[in-house]
């Protein structure tokens, strides 16, 4: 047996004609030794997932195909194998953990059945032996009560546990190579840390090689032995984790690392004398029990429980929490996209929740929103200029004036004026989010509610958009209610933060103070789960990409 779990030499993957570049991957060299974790890092479109597809021989051929180079898994040339031989390889010698366990698992079959299937296809074990093996695997990935988990369907277990099931499935034949394609991206930070630990532990026990694909340098700092950086299909840098993280050589890597938000909050500014712009008091929202009679009742869920907060002029208030903490519900209640059960949201002294539809429409221009998914939040059938001018037109500004304003706003969010007559799908994610911000600004609001505005963006773009938001906030004296799950982002932008858990505020205070001295155990847990918290990105000359 060779010491290399995976060896890729000069790999080239061709894209179909008419794509933005001829090769998805050009000249990738990569080695994964046994017992080593190699991180393949890159932004979206860098070709990292296609690399995984090529190793598993799961590329959407013939449109996308390997055009040159060699891949060998544990000394065997993958590219020369027939489809039948590949079937035997997959699962047994090389296996894969996917990003989204909910879609990677079959919703119609129990968890146990799906792990059992791998054993049934590859081994000659009897039924009882297989069952014992599956339960043993579930135990190894620390799923509570394995025999009952065996009979559970994927939707009945939590996201973190589903990913554990995927790992159990990937490891049950002890493959020499494990490919993990962004396995923790869809998970909350606390769960992410557990999963990373689990992958690390099991990999050490098995002595397998892991090719870990990620875009998150925090995760890299947490798990990698070796790092390979991809940009636009080209390998720009490779080295040990130490070298790449702390002394990156290539300008691209340097720029990427410079974009990682630092965990040290900026020095606190005092807003104690500024007037309160937005004030929420005693907000409650419970999602009522659904169904009944025929469909079976579901439990009601309390999304927000007695929430009270104040936002002062020019201030940024972060609402931080994991999924299910009710932070998105907060953003929808204060903009009244969702009706609260009780409580009041005072905007400059007027209670937004008590407004009738007419008054509400009038009030809306003072509080605007930036949404999470810039693609979904822009009407695909409208031109950019119409999207931005829509608000002012609705509020009585003439068409010509609104369009002229919209063009000025484009310049403000650093988009070229020729963008005005394009449709949203012609832009990249970061550009779309700029359009979303321009739309929110068009009504000259006092408050902007931003719901995870950068979580769908690549890290370098994320840094730019955050910088833009901060600049605009200072220029226009805006107050920002910033909802995020990413503590790094919160540290950079927010003056104060609210930490939410299960609909309740568990801690609130100045960002710097909360980060330095978290009082609630949940906040402490959150902060200690941030991937790469021990790694401080080196101070590099910030080069925009």
């Amino acid at each position: 047996m060779t010491e290399f779990a995976l060896k890729i030499e000069n790999l080239k993957i061709a894209l179909p004609e008419g794509s933005d570049r001829p090769f998805a991957l050009e000249g990738l060299d990569l080695e994964v030794r046994r017992g080593e974790v190699v991180c393949l890092v890159g932004e979206s479109g860098s070709g990292k997932s296609l690399t995984a597809g090529a190793i598993m021989r799961l590329l959407p051929e013939p449109h996308v195909h390997v055009a040159g180079g060699a891949i060998s898994v544990q000394g065997e040339d993958i590219l020369a194998k027939s489809e039948t031989e590949m079937k035997a390889m997959r699962g047994e010698r090389v296996s894969m953990i996917f990003q989204e366990p909910m879609t990677a698992l079959n919703p119609q079959k129990t968890v146990g059945w799906q792990i059992d299937e791998v054993l049934r296809l590859h081994t000659k074990l009897t039924r009882t032996e297989r069952r014992a093996r599956v339960i043993e695997m579930l135990e190894r990935v620390h799923i509570p009560d394995p025999p009952s988990a065996y009979n559970a369907y994927p939707h009945q277990v939590s996201g973190g546990q589903r990913q554990r099931v995927m790992i159990a499935m990937a490891l049950c034949l002890s493959p020499g190579l494990i490919i993990a394609d962004e396995p923790t991206t869809a998970l909350d930070v606390t769960t992410q840390l557990q999963i990373l630990k689990l992958i690390r532990d099991l990999q050490e026990q098995e002595g397998a090689g892991v090719l870990f694909i990620t875009h998150d340098f925090g995760v890299v700092a947490e798990i990698a032995d070796h790092v390979v950086v991809l940009s636009q299909g080209k390998m720009v840098e490779t080295g040990t984790a130490q070298q790449v993280l702390n002394a990156p050589q290539h300008p691209y890597t340097q720029a990427l690392i410079a974009s990682v938000p630092s965990l040290t909050p900026s020095p606190p500014k005092s807003f104690d004398n500024a007037p309160v712009v937005l004030k929420g008091t005693g907000l409650n929202k419970t999602f009522a029990a659904q169904g009944g009679f025929l469909s079976g009742r579901r439990k009601s869920v309390t999304a927000v429980d007695d929430l009270t907060f104040e936002l002062r002029k020019g201030e940024t208030l972060g609402v931080v929490g994991e999924s299910g903490s009710g932070k998105t519900t907060v953003s929808r209640i204060v903009t009244r996209l969702l009706e609260a059960d009780s409580g009041a949201v005072e905007l400059d002294g007027t209670d937004l929740l008590a407004c009738n539809p007419r008054q509400l429409r009038e009030m809306r221009k003072h509080i605007q929103m930036v949404f999470q998914d810039p693609m979904a939040s822009l009407n695909p059938r409208k031109r950019v200029v119409d999207l931005i001018a829509q608000g002012p037109i609705v509020h009585g500004v003439s068409r010509e004036k609104a369009h002229a304003q919209a063009r000025d706003l484009l310049a403000l969010v650093e988009l070229s004026p020729s963008a005005a007559n394009r449709f949203p799908h012609e832009f990249s994610g970061g550009q779309r989010q700029r359009i979303g911000i321009a739309r929110a600004l068009a009504l000259r609001p006092k408050v902007i509610v931003a719901d995870e505005p950068v979580s769908a963006l690549d890290v370098s773009v994320q840094a730019q958009v955050l910088r833009l938001l901060a600049d605009l906030r200072d220029q226009m004296d805006l107050s920002l209610l910033f909802v995020t799950h990413d503590l790094r982002v919160a540290a950079q932008l927010c003056d104060r933060i609210i930490v939410m858990q299960k609909g309740e505020i568990v801690e609130t205070g100045k960002t710097a103070e909360v980060f330095a001295d978290p009082r609630h155990p949940y906040t402490r847990n959150l902060l200690s789960s941030i991937p790469g918290r021990h790694w401080t990105p080196p101070k590099l000359e910030a080069i925009a990409i």
Binding site: L337, N379, E426
Partner: protein, 291 residues
């Protein structure tokens, strides 16, 4: 900020050009388009073929096709020119098809949009009404309506529209329900956009492509329904319609098969052209298609 981050991709070709390019890729759709143009051409040139009355006696009854060049496709048992009737029939078929489709899609859009956008009791009431219509077999309902309204061609078109709006309504409702929860709708609501503008300016343009595709199906169905009515001798006897021709040709089917077969072929090709066209439109308008 460097300009690189905000550089734009080169402009895309305009929408009609892109749509035509996608449409063109489907050969069957091109055939559909060709047949459709042919039918439209027939309808437009009917006056040239027979300037007077297509129902007048033009020759010896039951002349076979290609026997006499005054009546190239022969005559029926009353001596009427089959070619002329075929051309005028294209007018009737298209007229009924277009009017009935407009009525059916129009009702469908209004009911489907209201019920999908508002949901709740509005949806409940409107969908129960829709179901009431759906439980009655559409042809039986059509016969009843024609019996009540009379068999003038305008009433027939209206009646066909009334019996075929349920499926478009359900489809529009499904589209609206899916689009209503999209973030861009929330974004528009947050700008203070009114409900009417929300339905017609925000959501409708996004729901239109599948409706257009379905319209081609409704069109084909309407033509078939009209022919079926005429076949049962419930059509408007004052117009030459393909259904009428088949209905009357049935009596002489064994001796002069062409009286029924020629308009039959015309119906088959027209309906085929609409379904091929619909398929091509589906390809062209499907946003998941590239280039």
């Amino acid at each position: 900020m460097t300009t690189a981050a905000t550089d734009l991709p080169p402009p895309e070709p305009s929408r009609p050009v892109v749509l035509w390019r996608r449409f063109r890729r489907n050969r069957a759709a091109l055939l559909g388009l060709f047949l459709f143009t042919l039918v439209v051409g027939m309808a437009l040139t009917a006056g040239l073929i027979e300037p007077n009355d297509p129902l007048r006696r033009a020759g010896v009854p039951l002349t076979a096709p290609f026997a006499n060049w005054d009546t190239p496709l022969g005559t029926d048992q009353l001596g009427r020119d089959i070619l002329a009737m075929l051309f005028y029939g294209a007018r009737i078929s298209l007229l009924v098809g277009v009017v009935a489709t407009l009525i059916s899609i129009g009702i469908g859009i209004v009911i489907g949009a209201l019920s999908g956008y508002f949901g709740g009791w509005v949806d409940d009431v409107l969908m129960r009404i829709t179901e009431a219509f759906q439980t009655i077999p559409s042809f039986v309902l059509l016969l009843t309506l024609v019996a009540i309204l009379g068999s003038k061609i305008e009433w027939i078109a209206l009646a066909i529209g009334i019996v075929s709006w349920t499926a478009p309504a359900r489809m529009v409702r499904a589209e609206f329900m899916a689009l209503r929860n999209r973030e861009f709708v929330d974004a528009a609501r947050n700008l203070g956009v009114s409900n009417t503008a929300m339905i017609f300016k925000e959501i409708m343009p996004n729901a239109i492509p599948p409706i257009i595709v379905y319209a081609s199906v409704v069109m084909a169905l309407s033509i078939l329904l009209e022919s079926a009515l005429a076949f049962l001798a419930l059509g408007d006897p004052n117009y030459a319609s393909w259904g009428n021709m088949i209905g009357q040709g049935r009596a002489v089917l064994r001796t002069a098969w062409y009286c029924a077969a020629i308009p039959g072929i015309a119906i088959v090709l027209t309906v085929l052209s609409f379904s091929l066209l619909g398929e091509g439109l589906n390809d062209a308008l499907n946003p998941r298609q590239k280039k």
